[in-house]
Symmetry: C2
Subunit: 479 residues, 2 copies
């Protein structure tokens, strides 16, 4: 499909995105309203994301487990805000095994309730704490307007659910996870993010504090890319999660939950992608380097292929995720376009002249055309490629960071804020009132993204009402 | 919970099993009828199972992907046998987003239908074949009588779905996977299995051929531990999965599907477990060796703990999954019982005398008491432990194989068959008629397990009717 061109990002950003997801074979529309099929290439990308996160979680004491997909409807009704937040989005099982169920079951939209129920059963004393469990899987939230990866009725994620003895420990956990999410975005996804606290309006249903990481897409809209919530004792009281402390007194646990979902793939597409298609950061790319042999006839082929095979073996042995595109039915030019569409970070071309000169041509996906092309020796190719991949990874982060920083503004007054959020983010003092937040939304469609943890200090005047403000916030239109 | 004893296997095998699963914290009952929670220890075991299989599948060209959890009800009606087989077991979503759905959706009991639908969309020509996709996740089949791991409404598995150009390739795939399943059971799970073909009665709904691996549990009942199906063009015709062959003629694909589910954990429990609890094969055990420091006072503790810490670091660096049980609130004896219950293959005890003598005590889980205990030098402990784990792995397989072989009988007539299947398996000539199969089931509750691929050759007389038979079959009571 790579022979049909994408619309450019400027022509039609929404269509560029949709067609890229389909043509790069990341995902496809499912025959179930609002659902997607994640195709093998997209799933390989997701596996690289999940395995990094899984290792990080395990390194700080988390363990995985699995809770049922179906949750009794009554569980949702135990936490008031939670049920209000989720009931419009539920998929409901009313029949099982040919009979109508006494109580309807909900396909999980998130698992605080059923996990809370089990924690109440498992936790007896302070010795059982903390419990640090992660569940990997999918959840369903009925969506009216869907977009592949960004907003689908079913999506993939991990959900961490932890229970602690004290508020301090729970808060520490919430921030520890937020730091892991930031590290993932910076080091793996090459996406700069802002860590901060959501406003009360934007909080997760049932949480006391919601923190998030926010990233800027190519069209300058914000994407909430991960969240980490502190519940206080809200769910513990609803589900009776109590422990005997060291003084033998019954106490409610403090709980957290947190998630990054498959929408992070949408972020990767929109932060790094260009008019030729996907651009994947080397650390996450399912294929880091694709080798394209170039020959015109059987003689040239028999000269080129042994070199390709030898270099492939060397690269693979060095742990590089490498693939040889040896298709006979398409031209090298077709292959170039095809792998550019799929965002492979590095292309390695080998033709008869390269065989003679003991060289290969390297073409960087992130720098199109001649500028991104270099000719290097076949000697020590794994080291050269590894170095190049590291360079590309750093270049992607630098480029995305520069772009983001150039599009964050500090408007001098409310009039300027209204202009700024048409094509960027506003970083402004805010009095933290719901009224001012609602006014910005009504006037501009921009919402508060988060109140960054990293604050300038001091105080200012709310950009909307002029009252005293102690913290700055990001306003932006968001996905 | 390890302080409360299990019933012995002889006293009450069913209760021994149920209590073991709970006490070893492998799984727990969920607040949804027929569902289970797989607890962290059980899930870590499942992760070791899945990661081995995932690597094997990928090594022979398979890729992972994700298809929706919900499937339109009408999809099931496209393949006649399939809908008959599955409709009594379906969980049905009738409402979504607060409204009644136009068409009910089914929580997937298996994914042939929705994957077939997508394959029809993706496959155009012979160049697109084979497609070799695996999906990891859970499925739901409404069950009336449930048992943790063995039969639950929701269970965990992989489902492989492949499409091929020819019957030969599809058949080859079916057997390739069956070989991987056998290899997994022998090398990883230490469970001997018999590969064979299911009778028509026992076939998967919609398959032309179902092959299986069958294992013998401690109570001599059989457990079908994995299946690999050949569909011929059944699903291709139902879902219109066609390709243009090299002569430009439209052909139906040949498809397969195959699975091992979380019931394999039930097999691990029932094949290797004993009256003290679980016995895990070292290759799959989440914890391969547990270190128990032994001391009576602070002086002894300060002598013992540095040695424990040093040896722990050495074992861990050698890639051994090792844990130190440094709990202060329980005795060493309690810890011994606790880790025996959890089936940890090797216990390493270190007391003050061991510190003096530069030794440690090793206790094998598979050989209780003094016989399984040895004292070894602290020098080169990782090599000693690795060797011991290899020995344990082999011993478990040898023991299970000897037990199985001792309980497979070749009854001389139908009367003897009826006795044999009360406490073992019968390996007998069978005419392959449904009538004889049904008679055995009615008389004894034993079913045909499979017709082994490895046949003696020649021919015999059906054990039931005396007619000519060309293949032998296993009859056994099964889970």
């Amino acid at each position: 499909m790579a022979d049909e061109k994408l619309p450019t990002q400027k022509e039609n950003y929404a269509e560029w995105y949709n067609q890229l997801v389909l043509k790069a074979e990341l995902a496809d529309y499912a025959p179930v309203r609002g659902c997607m099929v994640v195709r093998p290439y997209g799933w390989a990308l997701w596996e690289n994301i999940t395995s990094w996160l899984d290792n990080e979680f395990k390194a700080c004491g988390h363990v995985n487990a699995a809770f049922p997909t179906l949750i009794p409807m009554s569980f949702f009704e135990k936490e008031k805000e939670h049920v209000e937040g989720f009931s419009p989005e539920l998929a409901v099982v009313t029949h099982g095994g040919g009979e109508k169920l006494e109580e309807p079951l909900v396909v999980r939209p998130t698992s605080e309730t059923i996990i809370g129920h089990m924690y109440a059963k498992w936790i007896k004393s302070w010795r059982d704490l903390p419990i640090l469990i992660v569940q990997w899987g999918s959840v369903l939230r009925w969506e009216m307007r869907t977009k592949l990866f960004l907003r689908t009725t079913e999506f993939y994620w991990h959900e961490g659910h932890t229970a602690h003895a004290t508020k301090d420990e729970a808060m520490e956990e919430m921030y520890r996870i937020l730091d892991i999410y930031e590290k993932f975005c910076l080091e793996e996804a090459a996406i700069p993010v802002i860590k901060g606290t959501k406003s009360d309006t934007e909080r997760f249903a049932g949480a006391q504090i919601t923190t998030s990481i926010e990233a800027m897409m190519w069209d300058k809209r914000a994407l909430q890319s991960g969240t980490s919530h502190y519940f206080g004792p809200n769910f513990s009281k609803a589900f009776d999660i109590q422990y005997l402390d060291q003084g033998n007194t019954l106490q409610y646990c403090e709980t957290t939950s947190w998630a990054i979902s498959s929408r992070i793939i949408g972020a990767l597409i929109m932060v790094h992608g260009d008019d030729q298609g996907l651009v994947l950061p080397p650390r996450l790319a399912p294929i880091q380097a694709v080798m394209v042999p170039i020959y015109r006839d059987a003689d040239q082929k028999s000269a080129v292929m042994p070199v390709v095979d030898r270099l492939f073996a060397e690269l693979k042995a060095a742990g590089i995720r490498v693939k040889v595109d040896d298709r006979e039915e398409v031209t090298p030019g077709f292959k170039f376009n095809d792998w550019e569409m799929r965002g492979v970070p590095l292309r390695i071309e080998i033709g008869p002249k390269d065989v003679e000169k003991n060289s290969v041509a390297l073409a960087r996906r992130d720098i199109p055309g001649r500028e991104g092309k270099s000719f290097v020796s076949q000697d020590n190719l794994p080291a050269t490629v590894t170095g190049m991949l590291t360079t590309i990874q750093a270049a992607l982060l630098a480029k995305a960071t520069a772009f983001r920083d150039a599009n964050i503004h500090d408007p001098k007054d409310y009039e300027e804020l209204k202009q700024v959020v048409e094509d960027g983010w506003a970083y402004s003092w805010w009095c933290e009132s719901k009224e001012c937040e609602a006014k910005v939304k009504a006037d501009t469609k921009a919402t508060t993204r988060n109140i960054p943890l990293n604050q300038p200090g001091g105080e200012g005047r709310c950009i909307v009402c002029g009252e005293k403000a102690t913290r700055k916030v990001y306003f932006a239109k968001a996905y």
